[in-house]
Point group: C2
Chain length 219, copies 2
């Protein structure tokens, strides 16, 4: 199957589970495991074994009866589907707490994500060095990101600046926006947005806690 | 409809959209908007208007033909369903970059989430003050969290410490875990886990970018 044929066949719900499989296979690989069965995956990941088999069948990751999957082959296939068989240049707008957390997040570079530029509009931060990077003026995102050929723009600014930053990044040609600001940003067709909204995640947790309370009242 | 009856009726996919509706209604309320139509919501949120009407009908948020929804009433209903009509005591394990980001995240307290304790195992951090809070020894999570009656435990530690921290939090009686460590944690039945895995989110973004490339090759 070609990569393009695979893309046509993988449903969104499966895509959402792939990063988790990928992370799991990386862990197995680092422990020098060569093969893994869907039963072991099911046990370790807390997912149904037949769902795992169906998910992996979507892109031709066929296990052998009694032998399971080859860890390195399966990991390689998922890597290709996720588009992780290449490297990406990231630029970060906003060097506050989230920006710092990302700068210090382990393994971004090892996984092929290179932070290529930092931007902020606060005068006290412009010119400040973090490792090899110097914070640049947020007004110059478009020019600098275009020169760098940045792939992904990270928005780690307060919410009132998010749309303007997104516009500059898109004008510079980034094809993906990773948005940490608690607001939706609008982009032109063809640009992808992935949001990390901390409050939404916390609200979901509260919902599930309230639902558990309700359940335990019924029992 | 009682709260319990509502809980039985709201599908998971709707639940995932509720925080976004909630955030949107908060914004409308802060602009002193009293009513909103599903068409305006559809336009502002980029969702299908009939889907919005169906979602809101799930919990009795009926709009009036030609008048739309009452912003404050709808916000109040969603708040109750999400379990946000009460306050929560959070404890944070790990005062690294993620921990700092959370300490400085605006509006947690305003939204009813009170950070009640900080923990770390690094000797140079134990005893350090952040606002009213002093970093306490990570070995004492269970005792201290139990005394505080903490509701939610936040795991912002490196991944190799995550399970042990989760175990202490669950033993202390927390009913929700908000996990930022890039690893799954196992908990007993009745305890809820919400994961924020930054790498997974970045991988999903890359997948969608790769899928867009594939689409543009076809055109």
């Amino acid at each position: 199957m070609t990569e393009n044929e695979i893309m046509d066949r993988v449903p969104e719900a499966v895509v959402r589970r792939l990063p988790r499989y990928y992370r799991y296979l990386q862990a197995l690989e680092s422990m020098e495991e060569e093969r893994v069965s869907s039963l072991k995956m099911s046990h370790d990941l807390g997912l149904n074994a037949s769902q795992i088999r169906r998910d992996l069948n979507c892109f031709g990751g066929f296990g052998q009866q009694g032998y399971g999957y080859s860890v390195s082959k399966l990991k390689g296939e998922i890597e290709t589907i996720l588009g992780l068989n290449r490297s990406y240049q990231l630029i970060i707008a906003g060097v506050g707490n989230i920006g710092h957390a990302l700068l210090n997040y382990p393994n971004f570079e090892k996984r092929g994500f290179q932070i290529a530029a930092l931007f902020d509009i606060r005068p006290e931060l412009i010119g400040k060095a973090y490792g090899n990077l110097v914070v640049q003026n947020g007004k110059e995102i478009e020019t600098i990101a275009k020169t760098l050929g940045a792939d992904i723009g990270v928005i780690a600014t307060p919410k009132n600046a998010a749309q303007e930053v997104a516009d500059s990044m898109v004008a510079a040609g980034v094809r993906g926006i990773w948005n940490f600001a608690p607001v939706e940003v609008a982009v032109r067709r063809g640009v992808c947005v992935e949001n990390i909204h901390l409050n939404d995640s916390l609200y979901s947790l509260c919902y599930h806690m309230a639902a558990e309370d309700h359940l335990s009242e019924l029992l």
